[in-house]
């Protein structure tokens, strides 16, 4: 048995042992709680800042998060045409705590999105980025525990999310003017 499968079973076989952990996993693993909480953190970042410079930097981070998510989703959509990995419940004996998603298991899109939020927030506020990173890690753990992803799926999702934010930030000569243009429009419309 390879490490990925061993880790998957080490977590998923625990389902049903402690009802409180199952309940907490259900609270985390659904499509609404963590993505909405992270989006709210981005809203907070958008309006936060003690000085105009800090506010502009925070708003750039939010635009970078949006761009990174957009690019990641495009990349993963293209990847799914050439590589499709079945979900754990399709190939293994699994204790499932979630519905059966039909898209490719590799890489995990929800985890990629969560780590785009965490890495993007880190760009403006390392403290917020750290908390979102912890939430993202718990989300990843919950996805494996609930039986919808292999550990390598969530690891790849996290790496793609962080790497995409890094690329967007490094290409600042392209994306900072673009972000400033978007922020300028938002300010003119009283949205920032």
């Amino acid at each position: 048995m390879n490490l990925d499968l061993w880790l998957f079973h080490a977590l998923n076989d625990f389902v049903g042992t402690v009802p409180l952990i199952d309940w907490l996993t259900r609270a985390l693993v659904n499509d609404y709680a963590v993505p909405t909480a992270m989006s709210l953190a981005a809203v907070a970042l958008w309006f936060a800042g003690a000085t105009p410079e800090e506010r502009t930097n925070n708003q750039r981070a939010v635009v970078f998060i949006a761009l990174a998510i957009l690019f990641c989703n495009a990349l993963i959509k293209d990847l799914s045409y050439v590589y499709f990995r079945p979900r754990p419940f399709a190939t293994e004996t699994v204790k499932l705590l979630f519905y059966r998603p039909s898209v490719s298991s590799f890489p995990s899109i929800p985890i990629e999105v969560a780590f785009c939020f965490a890495a993007g927030a880190w760009y403006a506020s390392p403290r917020l980025g750290k908390w979102l990173g912890i939430l993202g890690a718990l989300y990843a753990l919950a996805r494996v525990y609930a039986g919808v992803h292999f550990p390598s799926d969530v690891l790849a999702g996290a790496l793609i999310g962080v790497a995409m934010v890094y690329i967007v930030v490094r290409l600042d000569f392209v994306f900072v003017p673009l972000a400033d243009f978007a922020i300028g429009i938002a300010r003119r419309l009283q949205y920032a």
Binding site: N30, D31, Y32, A33, S39, V43, F47, A48, Y191
Partner: protein, 124 residues
């Protein structure tokens, strides 16, 4: 294109999610407005404002997860959730500014000296 992918299921869950996002965004903006002294966004000052912010955010989560029975079955897709969140934000930001404007006027009127107090003021 993107909008062709949006179906919003039976509709009820989309309305629930929009309401949840709207309330949570309003609460979040109030928390930030208090933390960074944003008078243009602030509704209620001080501890009452923080309490209102925390209760709105926590209440919206509790309300959504208690009322919506379709959370653990395939429901709204990622693009639909994103669209609803953006629409909620587009609604929440001007609503926040509008309420903040009237709240600031209310506070200014409450702090203004009354007619009787003005009459008692010594003439310069």
């Amino acid at each position: 294109m993107f909008f062709d992918l949006l179906h919003f299921g039976a509709g009820a869950q989309a309305i629930h999610y929009f309401t949840f996002c709207l309330a949570a965004i309003l609460g979040t903006i109030q928390g930030v407005a208090l933390r960074y002294r944003r008078a243009d966004l602030l509704w209620v000052d001080g501890y009452l404002g923080y309490t209102l912010s925390a209760l709105t955010i926590a209440g919206s989560f509790v309300w959504f997860f208690l009322t919506d029975q379709e959370i653990f079955i395939p429901g709204l897709a990622g693009g639909e959730l994103f669209t609803l969140f953006v629409v909620a934000f587009v609604t929440a930001a001007p609503l926040t500014r509008l309420v903040a404007f009237f709240a600031a006027r209310g506070r200014a009127l409450a702090l203004a000296p009354t007619h009787a107090a003005r009459e008692k003021e010594p003439l310069a």
